[in-house]
């Protein structure tokens, strides 16, 4: 079985390296095909592993020693257990689809080969992240994902906004990674190992304060990767990257890493429920906060990005409240329908010549039926309507919140569900139905190549049916993860389900009703609330004013005043003094032996004087 593990892990790397060989060349179709096939192989072998893993058997291999210095002994070990295999399957499945899709999407891009190299490297990093059996390996994957996201978001680096967004994502992640690193150091300091099993076996012996710090630091890391408030701004800006990248970042890799970390470190968080509760509260806040921003945004991809943020909030609520398997379940189902949404959005973008303003679309259903159907399905799944995948997972999260008697959180999520339903269908309505605004603007949308649509169908299928695997998923995953006890009465649960479904349905209904009649009037755009939402609660502005500007001024000050006037001046002065003394002393070098001898005697005299006044301590 080990060979399947290695195949899963290294097939993407191989693909990446092959594509990298041709990175600077003109478009070569085969790089896309080879990487797609290799990712496909990776997917197949992870499915084989999924079949192999059950309650008793997990795969744990140690590839080689990595760091072995003094007391530090960190191996390159990989573990395939119930959690990581789920992640592997999800990641490789979505990645395969994204790869195939990208062949169509990046068709006309001149850096075709480079793109596939990055994309596969991204998948490889994510696999390292999920498959590592220790925190150090996880951190490697973590950084690898950060690097690849930087490369991919800034893929069109000649665009200023793209490189800006890439840097923003990277820097935000760096801030969070510091927290993550502190957490790891703390773990290593207190436990003496970074292996998951050893850490979790010894973690109970630590005092609560240390545990709390570890939990907080690890969560700071997770906050960065999963773009939780207040480090969320990079996610929406990351939409500057090519759409398949957005799909990959949002659905399978990168942002889910934070959730994965919290799930992985579940045994730590189980000991510190207060921190878990904070995580859940933050998650619930982000769920509503992001959803509210999605309500008014006009950028196709940003809307979906905010929805990702919001759904990540849901996952963190589940994970924070200790329902790890539900968080993982939502992560998986979300991966399916969110990647579908993104890839569909990519199709729309292509059709509209990279126009992203949904107010300029409308009525695209006639020209791109398949995409419209796929995206509608995905939106329904996102909104959480029975029997789509989103229903099962999202509803469970709400139940968990209610079960925990965290009614405020529950209410937030409840509102979030309504908002989700509304903005998803606002998007669908504005893009695919209603008035054909794009005709007036002179766009001629056309459907994408068929193989792209075929590539999306597995996702669509899973977005519909994934929810029905809930029970087997539960049984499978809880072999490793702690089960969550529902103490809720069955009837109350049922009422909750109905309430949530009702609120989601009403959200959909409201959106459909409102936007089939031309949407909201223009006067809304002048209201304060609209301005607040469209400006993302002025948070980017706030960051710019409070962090960027002062930092910029500080740097400028440091450069112009400290560096130029003090540091440089000092260095220059030393040079000038030396030069000046050299200039003066040059006259000594007359070449006259007699004067040289005099200087020598002068030196002797000075040494003698020194010998008198500076005596060695005896």
């Amino acid at each position: 079985m080990e060979k399947y593990l290695y195949i899963t892990l290294f097939a993407p790397l191989l693909g990446s390296l092959i594509a990298a060989l041709f990175a600077a060349q003109k478009k070569m179709l085969f790089t896309g095909i080879i990487t797609s096939i290799l990712i496909g192989i990776s997917f197949l072998s992870s499915v084989i592993l999924l079949n192999y893993i059950d309650g008793d058997t997990i795969l744990h291999v140690k590839m080689m020693d990595w760091i072995s210095a003094g007391n530090i002994d960190i191996p390159f070990g990989f573990v395939v257990d119930q959690v990581s295999v789920i992640m592997m399957v999800t990641v490789t499945l979505v990645s395969t689809v994204v790869h195939v899709y990208s062949i169509g999407y990046m068709e006309h891009d001149k850096s075709f080969n480079r793109f596939f190299s990055y994309l596969s490297a991204f998948v490889f990093s994510m696999l390292i992240l999920v498959m590592s059996d220790n925190f150090a390996g996880l951190f490697i994957g973590w950084e690898g994902v950060g690097l690849c996201s930087w490369l991919l978001i800034g893929f069109w680096y000649h665009k200023h906004s793209a490189s800006w967004a890439a840097n923003e994502a990277f820097i935000m992640n760096r801030i969070a990674d510091l927290g993550m690193l502190m957490g790891l150091f703390l773990i290593y300091w207190k436990v003496g190992s970074l292996q998951y099993d050893i850490v979790f076996a010894n973690i109970v012996n630590l005092d609560v304060t240390t545990l709390t710090w570890i939990g907080v630091f690890l969560f700071i890391g997770a906050m960065g990767k999963s773009a939780q408030f207040p480090l969320h701004t990079w996610l929406a800006d990351a939409m500057e990257g090519p759409t398949p990248v957005s799909a990959l970042i949002h659905a399978a890799t990168m942002v889910t890493a934070g959730v994965y970390l919290v799930i992985r470190a579940g045994e730590i968080y189980a000991l510190i429920p207060e921190v878990g509760y904070v995580i859940a509260s933050l998650g619930a806040f982000v769920a509503v906060f992001a959803a509210s921003m999605a309500l008014v945004n006009r950028d196709l991809k940003r809307i979906i990005a905010y929805s990702t943020l919001s759904q990540l909030g849901y996952m963190f609520v589940a994970a924070g409240l200790g329902a790890y398997w539900i968080a993982l379940f939502h992560l998986m189902t979300h991966a399916f329908f969110k990647s579908l949404l993104f890839l569909g959005a990519g199709n729309v973008m292509h059709a509209m010549n990279d126009e992203l303003d949904i107010k300029k679309m409308g009525g695209l259903y006639d020209s791109m039926k398949a995409t419209a159907i796929l995206m509608t399905l995905a939106s329904i799944a996102l909104a959480g309507i029975y029997p789509f995948a989103g229903f099962f997972s999202k509803d469970k999260i709400l139940e968990v919140a209610f079960n925990h008697e965290a009614y405020l959180l529950w209410f937030a999520l409840f509102i979030g569900a309504a908002l989700t339903a509304f903005y998803s269908f606002r998007l669908v309505m504005l893009v695919f139905f209603g008035e054909k605004v794009h005709k007036k603007l002179g766009f001629h949308p056309h459907e994408v190549q068929p193989f792209v649509i075929y590539a999306l169908t597995p996702l669509a299928l899973l977005a519909i049916v994934a929810g029905f695997f809930e029970h087997s998923f539960h049984a499978f995953v809880t072999d490793l993860l702690k089960d969550y006890e529902f103490t809720l009465d069955h009837s109350i649960a049922l009422i909750l389900i109905f309430a949530t479904s009702a609120v989601a349905l009403s959200g959909i209904g409201f959106a459909v009703y409102k936007y089939s009649r031309g949407g909201f009037s223009e006067s809304w755009e002048k209201k304060g609330i609209y301005k607040l939402l469209i400006n993302q609660y002025y948070i980017p502005k706030f960051y710019e004013l409070t962090i960027q500007k002062p930092l910029y001024n500080l740097s400028k000050f440091a450069w112009q005043k400290i560096d130029l006037k003090i540091v440089d001046a000092t260095v220059d002065m030393i040079a000038r003094v030396l030069y000046g003394t050299g200039d003066t002393a040059r006259k000594i070098q007359s070449g006259n032996l007699s004067s040289m001898l005099r200087w020598m005697v002068a030196g002797v005299a000075i040494l003698l004087v020194l010998a008198i006044f500076i005596r060695p301590m005896v």
Partner: protein
Amino acid sequence: MMIGLTHYLILSGILFIIGLVGVMRRKNLLMLFFSTEILLNAVNIGFVAVSKYYGDLSGQMFAFFIIAVAASEVAVGLGLLVLWYKRTGSTDLDSLQMMKG
């Protein structure tokens, strides 16, 4: 009154200073050589005195080697001096300015 080590060392120092004066004052290359001989001899006295008062033969050994060095220095130095005199007809130090940078 006994003659101690200090007496010898001070004498050695005085002779050394005389040598230094010579080194600084003399402009004739030959005279300069004389002055260096004085320097070497001054040091020799010091060495031998220390050797005597500490009962250690190393000082004498060094004096011995210094004499050897002085002898070879004179041999080579005089050779160069004669060569220089043949070429320029002068042994004046001020005519030796080739090292001017």
